[in-house]
Symmetry: C2
Subunit: 764 residues, 2 copies
């Protein structure tokens, strides 16, 4: 069967040969180019703007400023529409503004024949500002006299607090050890290969068509409608192949603007493509967070209580805002569920680049704090970090203290045991006792994570699938699941093939989403797709299979219950699986018999009302060069319980990619912001240190395959989780090697230098 | 309600402003241009072909000849696939050939960077032929020693014979008058505004995509698959707006070739656009036919027996071949169904341009013969032609002698009475008695027609519709019905609006067919679409409405049976139609409620197993200038029973367009073929005499609206019928004015000159 097999990606050849079409490969004759005029300050107000010279430049089609845009504030976060206004995302973004909230904020936009003219026109625009102090740190933002970044809102975008799994005060009283520490994670960026880009035009019937590199075409459709104040049905969003998103394309950033421009320019096609520098400065980033963790442990390593207080900065606009820190907090409750947990989180506006969704959505930050604290406590108690985790780890049947629901599948203990064995934890740990001094020191680290699959019950989980039996017995599958490079088209093909019982080669996937006709789905995020679209594909394929067998029964006279679809034939299961009719002949009859049949299709929309927990851990072996403040990863393993693995090759790709991003966040990546001015020092690929090919070590992984009962194919989240646990595992390995607790990310040479110096490892 | 209203065409603004995109508006960077090398003889064999110089020309990508194409013969006729091989269309066409069967037959094809280079390359190709005598007339073709035009087939492509409504010999014995005469109709051409054109490329996943100006996208998909010997599911046909087809795009002419070319050229886009001259010579035409009619009448004008013997010439390839003359014959049986009818038809290959489908598919030819014979008999009997037709006309409940089924609706007598009154038949007839001599003579003519709706039971009638309730309460409708200018998108919108109960403005139509996702439908022909897609739209809209009301019941607690959808609200019909929830709120809930609902869609495929008869007549008042041999139409009326009229404005367009084409066929249009060589003299718009604006008189029409019980919206065929009866009505009016029976079409000045001279009206 197709599920579980090493099936080639359906788009493998297209991508390797360059045939795969991305947004910028779409072309309309006469396409105009738009470029933003962006603020050169991080906080203030535009007091003078002169665009006349730009407007008069030959080749300039139009210049629009904050005075020209609809007075409608929208929420850019790529979440489903909320039926409850109280839970809606914060609508705080105008298309253009004179009230500058971060460096690069959008003041005006030029539309020209080509990029050169657009650049020339931008240079002709004159802007005057009144500059305000940049509020770049929690202290500045929360100061009593701090200016409100959004005049109609507090600087605290969101705040919430809860306790679960018991009373926190009482639980801490049971502890033999109370460990308290502060941790910090820096702002990082997604750095997807394909920058944000969108093309819009008005079609034959004056619908606005937006072709966009988006993870969320159906949500983008809605937000464009909202931003322009037009019926949503008049907006059509098309999503071709995408060169990566990682959450940054789970925001609706360019689509409303290109839609606005084409609507103002009589339907002329307008393209808006961000440069890498704009993309890094003015799209979305991972929220930087400050943590205070208090952990209560029994002597034997049993965790009894944990309080986390976190401040997250969302930058100039809310975007996903407080839901990041909320989601990260609640998903972390699954990890050690038999303890009492407290959580207090605040999200602040700040005059820094805007925070949004990024792979694992808050969990990497919170898990860094929690899993660092666990190792700090283990060290104080003299307990083996792996043993301590096994003792506390979630097990199937445990109750999730946050949701109060039982954990439906869990292989975390098996993951820990497998990782311990693979990295030869006990043997090396013994061996490395002799390598804790000198220039090069060796250490082992471990960290765990827990995660969810999808967003239910916080948001609706809806997915659609339509399957058509073609005349030749092959099928076409349309889903709203968006292929963004993660392989969802291939997973869907495997699932449909498995449930129908046909070869995966006979499955054609409609990869491009088109919101006019593609079954509704909210998009690629929250590692939801293989889970929720899996349920929809299963339902559609089951329905279609039943229609096929019913029609076969009509044609052959055998009862449908005695028939099955195997390969390219309908077989009689009561007679040694003998073929009773080929699927091709059945298909031809369904189309062309004059009285019977009809095109056989299944068109389903399914809401998933469960949320499967996934788990896993990282084991890492590091060498730390003390004088060079350099960390070398000797070996690293991620072990995942993601339920049933749909495709081992694609799963490997997901895990390795996530681990590489985690290593970047652990050791080098950081958006450097000047705390005085809010300016960003490194919004380019030279100065922002993504690990290159030579920086990433050999990466290893393995799976513990549980069977998740709420998933039609037994699977759970896998897209995001691999990024979560590498940073704390590396941090814990550095601690093991050096005795130095590095409590911030990234653990760059600069940070290590400071830490090693203050701990006396380096001479001042 | 929307059905029956004068709703604006949904594409009106797009077409008037030029926004509507046709096949040639689709563009892919690097598109290559293909041009055929066509034979300069009508019959023979290529004995030498040298393409090397063409291949070496800079800018030429490739040259393919008859040696390079797949050895697969296909049937180009746009019919559904036949499950019974005995009833399949004749598969006689290779992509390229060395065995020339008509002038312009396709020998080779050049693919170049642009048209100029392609033309230059064609000029470098050297061809040598062995020429055979051109078989251009039935006599030559049927001669015992005639060469077989297709070596593996007789020159008689098809032949059939039947009697219905009694025994013919016995019926003729009851007749007081036997009228026997020969009639002839010439080859005419569709002359749609947009020539045949297609663009093909291979997409990301190596599917072959063909964008084509076709009436039959799903059939084109199948024929491309057959012609290339590849699975049909790997072919995708896209049909954008079309500038007219009239049946000529119900053949699969260019699609297999462009698909072949792109598959040979590694997926590069290739465009193949015919010139007007090629289009007139090498696509399809209306079959010329020779008739022998024998009509038996009672003295009082009761028709008792009719035998028609017809020879049709299909040209060099079968295309729709014998089915044209078969369909025309069977549909004419409905007109005077209480008589005995005999029919013998043969279709011949000939070395003339290929015959295919054209508006009304054989009926114009056969009806010219029958309705001319009726007037000839009326004249001999001294009976009023209108009275005679009323006496014999079909009435509701009559049995169709051919199908043996009752005629389910019929307003033919009312049509005749309405037309007689509108043209003031009796008054003018009296008046014109004094205008039968001199230079200008006046006359009145009448002719009737009968027609079917769709092709059942000859072919399958399948239509699909998918309707989506959008988030904003509007709907998107996808159907396989192809808009080819006739207004089907608008009719579908009206039907969906009516059944759902929503404003037609809230209906969005997906106009472009895409065979990967568009519900299956065999296309635009046989005046089938409003009838068969109407049944599918009704079913889909009814299903969607029930889903909406069921969901409203769930949300509001009212029983679904007490609810209805009116405008933009769900109302309680048991409480004065008070609104219980807006459709917009219901839609939002269906999408976004976390547990209930789901995207509401209906996806249906429906087979129609009925065939509704439509009827009508033409009344015309002419002045004939004897010396100039010129006919002036003073007044002309078409009166139609097409059941319920979906949209009076669009219906008017159909009727007026059809009448104008009928007038052209009556008076001026003819493809002039040299009987010796098979050469065509006038395959261009200068020499082929389509009536221009000044040639078409004011055209009048009216409807007799019956309600057809087998149609969901009470409608019957209207697209084709208006062309049928004008030519015989004009012929009968000329007879009335001059006493000269002109028994051939067109009744051009040349033909009239000959006729008037032989009748002594003009001095020799």
């Amino acid at each position: 069967m197709a599920v579980g097999d090493r099936v080639d990606r359906v788009d493998a050849i297209a991508k390797v040969t360059g045939k795969a079409r991305y947004t910028d490969d779409f072309f309309r004759p006469g396409t105009l180019v738009a470029k933003y005029l962006r603020s050169s300050i991080a906080h203030g107000r535009v007091t003078g703007l002169s665009v006349e010279k730009a407007r008069e430049l030959e080749g300039v089609e139009a210049v629009f400023t904050y005075e020209d845009v609809p007075p409608i504030k929208v929420a850019t976060a790529g979440h489903p529409y909320s039926l409850d206004p109280a839970h809606a995302d914060v609508a705080d973004k105008l298309l253009l503004t004179d009230r500058i909230k971060h460096l690069g904020d959008e003041i005006a936009i030029v539309v020209a024949e080509n990029e050169l003219i657009a650049d020339e026109a931008l240079a002709l625009v004159e802007v005057e500002y009144e500059e305000y102090p940049a509020l770049t740190t929690p202290e500045k933002i929360l100061a009593p006299d701090a200016r409100k970044i959004h005049e109609d809102s507090s600087n605290v975008v969101g705040e919430h607090q809860y306790e679960c799994g018991g009373k926190l005060d009482e639980a801490f009283e049971l502890a033999d050890l109370i460990h308290e520490e502060q941790y910090y994670t820096a702002m990082v960026q997604h750095v997807h290969l394909e920058n944000h880009t969108a093309l819009a035009y008005m079609d034959d019937l004056d619908h606005i068509v937006v072709i966009s590199s988006t993870q969320i075409p159906h949500i983008a459709r809605r937000v464009v409608g909202q931003a322009l104040g037009i019926p949503w049905g008049r907006v059509r969003v098309i999503k071709p192949y995408i060169g990566g998103g990682f959450g940054n394309k789970q925001d609706v950033i360019l689509e409303p603007m290109v839609a606005f421009l084409t609507s103002k320019l009589d339907g002329q096609p307008v393209r808006l493509t961000l440069s890498r520098e704009e993309c890094m400065l003015c799209t979305r980033n991972r929220h930087p967070m400050d943590f205070e963790v208090k952990l209560g442990m029994k002597e034997d390593g049993t965790a009894v209580a944990r309080m986390v207080d976190v401040i997250s900065m969302t930058g100039g606009y809310a975007s996903h805002g407080h839901s990041i820190v909320a989601a990260g907090g609640s998903k972390s409750c699954l990890l050690y569920p038999r303890m009492t947990i407290g959580y207090h989180a605040r999200t602040l506006y700040a005059n820094i680049p805007v925070g949004g969704a990024m792979r694992a959505y808050g969990s990497p930050q919170i898990t860094f704090a929690i899993e660092s604290a666990m190792d700090d406590a283990a060290r104080k108690l003299g307990v083996d970090p792996v043993e301590m985790r096994i003792k506390n780890a979630a097990r199937q049947g445990d109750i999730n203290p946050f949701s109060k629901l039982p954990i439906s599948s869990c292989g975390l203990v098996e993951c820990l045991e497998k990782g311990r064995s693979l990295i030869r934890w006990d043997e090396k740990r013994e061996d490395y006792r002799n390598h804790k001094s000198g220039k090069i020191r060796y250490g082992l680290g471990v960290a765990c994570f827990s995660y969810g699959t999808g967003t239910y019950p916080v948001c609706v989980e809806i997915a659609g699938a339509r399957i058509i039996l073609n005349q030749d017995g092959s099928i076409h599958v349309q889903t709203g699941a968006t292929e963004i490079g993660q392989g969802s088209d291939t997973a869907v093909a495997q699932m449909a093939a498995k449930t129908l019982g046909i070869p995966v080669e006979n499955v054609h996937i409609v990869s491009t989403q088109d919101t006019d006709v593609t079954p509704f789905d909210t998009g690629a995020y929250a590692s939801r797709q293989a889970y929720v679209v899996g349920n929809a594909v299963y339902k559609a394929a089951t329905e279609l299979k039943q229609k096929i067998l019913d029609y076969a029964a009509l044609l052959t006279g055998f009862p449908a219950a005695s028939l099955d679809l195997k390969g390219e034939s309908i077989v009689n299961i009561t007679d040694n699986n003998t073929s009773v009719i080929s699927l091709n002949d059945l298909a031809l009859s369904s189309y062309y018999d004059k009285e019977k049949g009809g095109q056989l299709t299944a068109d389903v929309s399914h809401k998933t009302t469960t949320n499967a927990p996934s788990f896993g851990c990282t084991f890492v072996d590091v060498a730390v060069d003390i004088p060079l403040c350099k960390v070398t990863i000797n070996e690293i393993y991620n072990i995942h319980d993601s339920g049933v693995i749909i495709n081992p090759v694609m799963a490997k790709g997901q895990v390795e990619g996530g681990m590489a991003m985690g290593i970047g966040a652990a050791l080098s990546e950081q958006v450097l912001i000047d705390q005085e001015t809010g300016r960003v020092h490194n919004n380019n690929m030279l100065d922002y240190k993504v690990p290159t090919f030579t920086d990433v070590p050999d990466i290893h992984h393995d799976f513990v395959e549980t069977v998740e009962p709420t998933a039609s194919y037994g699977n759970k989240s896998l897209g995001e989780p691999p990024i979560i646990s590498p940073p704390p595992a590396i941090r814990n390995a550095i601690l093991d090697a050096t005795g130095v607790a590095v409590n911030e990310l990234p653990m760059s040479p600069q940070v290590l230098f400071k830490a090693f110096k203050s701990h006396g490892l380096l001479k001042p």
